[in-house]
């Protein structure tokens, strides 16, 4: 038997006797003979703990992208993670527990997630938050469904300046004949085309969804969009970057009804795309329309404070086909990573991270603009952490050349032009790395248009 199975043959025999069967095969009696496998599965021979370690080191060594200085963002970011976060996540008490169905023996998870909800609500400027969704994109999609449920309108307008991968996910979740999704274009300066939005809204729109800062890193005032959609009885959904929020006006203050976002930037490694954690916050009046788990505070029989899963009549295990969502498992441990991270960073630390992202990205932008032929797209609008440059060479070729310099330069946005590239600078990039980026870029672009 493997190192995971304690019962040896003698135990098995004793147990089979108690069950009242002669041999294990008798327990398979309910499975029709024809379906019982006669051959063993075709899988590689078992490997030892030591061997598996080597195999994984080998896999990891072939991920050469992990060794480069990362200026790539677009929804996943290379931020600093304090060591203490992982020590908290590696507590068996947290990571080997299930969903807190038995509240009396799950107070650790429940209180931690209650605190997570509080932090998300405060950061976004909203009245409440749920216990997490799969990722930012699916959280945005669920927010659209939630808006349609609560307004009883079936049209959603999404900003064209929303991350295209998120747009795809929303289209998947809303793929029904009776739902309508329209895109609000962005103007030449990268800002939302409010005039077109105003026309598209007419005739009943459940929600407008904007990204803040938008996919191109641009910081837009979202209040006009809020006023526009509220004027027609719909909701404003904001897909917010949490790292920008210590500096920027909170979506709640600007009029958002639902705020969603990706929690990866707050203590979760990039890990090739997951596991991450979507967050969802909302105004209190929407609480009963929310998808997913929500933790609430209550008291026990002795009057002590305690925490439970609450508003469960929204959920699939009670309401079945009438539930607000089919979500069951969420990303609880990743939400815990978010709250551990935010607790450690605290009021001052998180603002400092935000501020350094802002200044370092502007430092690189300034250095790049000194190189002939490089300009910034949408340069009239301020940006946070990411910006789009226009290169005198193809952005794909530029990206590939930069890899030779040990740099992941960004994401080519060929839909904006052959030389367009989305560049990200987090607090983790040193001045030296940023200077190297600029020097390599000057070298590559030095030959003029190629």
């Amino acid at each position: 038997m493997s190192r995971f199975i304690p019962n040896q043959n003698e135990h098995r025999e004793k147990m089979l006797r108690e069950i009242g069967v002669g041999e294990f095969g008798d327990l398979l009696e309910p499975i029709p003979e024809k379906y019982r496998l006669k051959e063993k599965l075709q899988l590689p021979e078992p490997i030892s703990e030591l061997g598996l370690n080597r195999e994984f080191e080998e896999f990891a060594s072939r991920n050469t992208g992990a060794e480069l200085a990362c200026f790539l963002g677009a929804g996943s970011y290379d931020h600093f993670i304090p060591a203490a976060v992982d020590h908290i996540l590696l507590r068996s008490e947290f990571y080997t527990a299930y969903t807190p169905y038995q509240a009396e023996v799950s107070q650790g998870t429940l209180q931690a997630i209650f605190e997570y909800q509080t932090m998300i609500a405060r950061l976004t400027g909203m009245e409440m938050a749920n216990a997490s969704m799969y990722d930012g994109a699916s959280s945005a999609a669920e927010a659209c469904l939630m808006a349609m449920r609560s307004t009883r309108k079936q049209r959603i307008l999404i900003a064209g300046s929303l991350n295209p991968r998120w747009q795809d996910v929303i289209r998947t979740y809303l793929k029904r004949d009776d739902f309508e999704i329209n895109e609000i274009p962005f103007l030449d300066d990268g800002s939302l085309d409010l005039e077109t939005a105003g026309k598209l809204i007419e005739g009943g729109t459940a929600a407008v969804l904007v990204q803040y800062p938008n996919y191109f890193g641009l910081i837009e005032d979202i209040q006009p969009a809020a006023e526009l959609i509220h004027g027609s009885g719909g909701l404003l959904i904001v897909a917010a970057d949490p790292v920008a929020l210590p500096l920027l006006r909170s979506p709640g203050d600007a009029g958002a009804d639902i705020v969603v976002g990706e929690g990866q930037s707050m203590g979760i490694p990039m890990s090739y795309g997951g596991p991450y954690a979507g967050f969802m916050a909302a105004s209190a009046k929407l609480a009963r329309k929310m998808p997913g788990r929500i933790i609430g505070r209550t008291t026990d029989r002795a009057g002590q404070t305690g925490y439970v899963l609450t508003l469960q009549t929204r959920e699939q295990h009670i309401r079945r086909d009438k539930a607000t969502s089919n979500i069951c498992s969420n990303q609880a441990l990743m939400a815990l990573a978010n709250s551990a991270y935010l607790s450690l960073m605290g009021e001052r630390g998180f603002r400092e991270i935000s501020s350094q992202c802002y200044h370092k990205s502007h430092y690189l932008e300034k250095k790049l603009l000194e190189i002939p032929g490089i300009s910034r797209l949408f340069s009239k609008i301020p940006f946070f952490r990411e910006f789009v440059i226009s290169l005198p060479v193809s952005s794909i070729a530029f990206r590939d050349r930069m890899i030779e310099h040990g740099i992941l330069a960004g994401l080519p946005l060929v839909e904006l032009g052959e030389g367009a590239m989305l560049v990200t600078v987090t607090e983790k990039r040193t001045r030296d790395e940023i200077d190297r980026y600029a020097m390599a870029a000057a070298e590559i672009c030095g030959g003029g248009t190629s």
Partner: protein
């Protein structure tokens, strides 16, 4: 316990950050700045205080590393420690999801191989590792099925048939997928009634969604008949693979007539549940359906290189990136550690452990569907105790006092006062016997000292909590005026 906000005091910090090493050359226009002087209301505490806070919180949790967790349908088995280290190797955890494929060759190969393993285990040909959890896997599977019908000009097929014992996610998924739920009755043996299925299928049938073994822990013995009925009506068969821990190396869903299924890596394949996630719910399907899989899929090129690809007929994308990759690494490690024989031993021992408990508890609790061996779990009824005024909820809470997590309760809905028990293969005979002693003792208490059960739990960090009050006086965030710095 105090909240993290209550231990907060202005000026404290839990991290040491480097000074800004570039000149600050630009400022955000004042009109865009955060309100309230920039305050966010995040806690302010030292690293030591934060650690102590979370460690103290953690000690209030029951968890697999502490004791048995016989939560039916959740497969709470031991989570190997090595796997946590592997997923944290810098070359894996530090990889950005949008790097060019050739810079991610290791992760892509690992994903490709995991996909092959899952196909071999289930008998299918197509796989997506993207779904983040079982419920998203269900959504993925139903979207594939809808795409299939649409491609054949049968878009009208929008009925999803499922037994009354189905997991709650199944009907919720149907609604999310814009389909209609059609219930199929279970017979007196707790199995799907083929006659009722025959009555319910028709030209609107999109799919039959079945958990096998079902949620009573019983194998659907007439599975061939069931899947054939659906196929003959032009529908497809979807298997909810939540209970796959019973079938590793024992039987393959594909051979039973299923067209698509999802697996829960956080159940069958030992990846930890994390207090409610992250999970991972890969979807595996027939070759015919593979062209509808979500975007992106992992493919091997003729030259042997592995890369992401997009199917022309894909129904779309489920997540911003390619799935809960860190979870996939752990499932891969599990399968590599065990191999074919080790996986079969998993299911064999899961079955033996469940049948042993069922047999040992037979005299003390009702079992309305005890017609022979169960698979990896079984469902008792607390009806006998309920007549004494002791509900299943009370029994569950009393088990907490004995140091066990409770079974899944009040599910499936077709059993009164249900107690769904799944021991998993990683529990020893000695541990199972201790659990039996606790259950027998509680059965005795229900007769002799029922207040011990109805007052339970008493040995837990808090006593029984008032869920009604939690809804009535809804409080889901710490109010801003309490212990505050905002």
């Amino acid at each position: 316990m105090k909240t993290v906000f209550e231990i907060s005091s202005p000026g404290r910090i839990g991290v040491s950050l480097p000074d800004l090493d570039v000149p600050a050359t630009s400022e955000i226009p004042p009109g865009l700045l955060r309100e309230n002087g920039g305050k966010t209301g995040l806690p302010e505490a030292t690293e030591g205080q934060i650690l102590r806070h979370y460690v103290n919180l953690s000690t209030m949790n029951h968890h697999v590393d502490k004791g048995m967790y016989p939560l039916g349908s959740c497969t709470m088995k031991y989570n190997p420690k090595l796997h946590e280290n592997l997923a944290r190797i810098r070359g894996l955890s530090g990889l950005h999801p949008l790097v060019p494929d050739e810079l991610a060759a290791g992760s892509l190969e690992l994903m490709y191989r995991l996909g092959e393993f899952l196909c071999e285990i289930t008998g299918f040909e197509g796989v997506s590792l993207q779904p983040a959890a079982g419920a998203q896997g269900e959504f993925c599977g139903i979207m594939i099925i809808k795409s299939y019908h649409e491609s054949r000009g049968e878009k009208q097929r929008n009925e999803i048939l499922m037994p009354d014992s189905a997991h709650g996610t199944n009907p919720a998924t149907s609604t999310l997928s814009d389909c209609v739920v059609v219930g199929v009755e279970s017979n007196e043996y707790g199995l799907v009634d083929p006659e009722d299925l025959k009555r319910k299928v028709g030209p609107l049938t999109a799919a039959f969604m079945l958990t096998n073994p079902n949620t009573l822990g019983l194998f659907e013995s007439r599975i061939e008949e069931l899947t054939s009925i659906v196929h003959e009506a032009g529908g497809l068969n979807y298997m909810d693979g939540a209970n796959m821990n019973a079938l590793l190396g024992i039987a393959k869903p594909r051979e039973m007539g299923f067209d698509v299924c999802h697996l829960n890596l956080h159940k069958t394949f030992s990846t930890p549940h994390g207090g409610g996630g992250p999970g991972s719910g890969p979807v595996i399907c027939s070759e015919e359906l593979a062209r509808f899989l979500p975007d992106p899929v992992v493919i091997r090129e003729d030259d042997g290189s592995i890369r992401f690809s997009r199917n022309q007929d894909s129904f779309g994308r489920l997540l911003a990136f390619q799935g809960n990759i860190g979870v996939l690494y752990k499932a891969y490690a599990y399968i590599r550690t065990l191999g074919a024989e080790g996986l079969r031993e998993v299911s064999e021992n899961a079955l033996i452990n469940a049948n042993y408990l069922k047999s040992k508890l037979a005299d003390y609790f009702d079992n309305p569907f005890d017609n022979g061996p169960c698979m990896h779990e079984f469902v008792l009824s607390g009806d006998r105790q309920a007549k004494l005024g002791v509900r299943t909820l009370d029994i569950a809470k009393r088990l907490l006092d004995y140091g066990f997590h409770a079974p899944t309760v009040y599910f499936p809905l077709i059993v009164h006062e249900a107690l769904m028990i799944e021991p998993t293969e990683t529990e020893s005979l000695e541990e199972l016997d201790t659990f039996v002693e606790a259950m027998v003792s509680i059965a005795g208490e229900a007769v002799e000292k029922p207040y011990l059960v109805t007052d339970a739990p008493v040995n837990t960090p808090v006593l029984r909590l008032d869920e009604v009050k939690a809804v009535k006086d809804l409080c889901v965030v710490e109010p801003v005026d309490k212990g505050e710095n905002i």
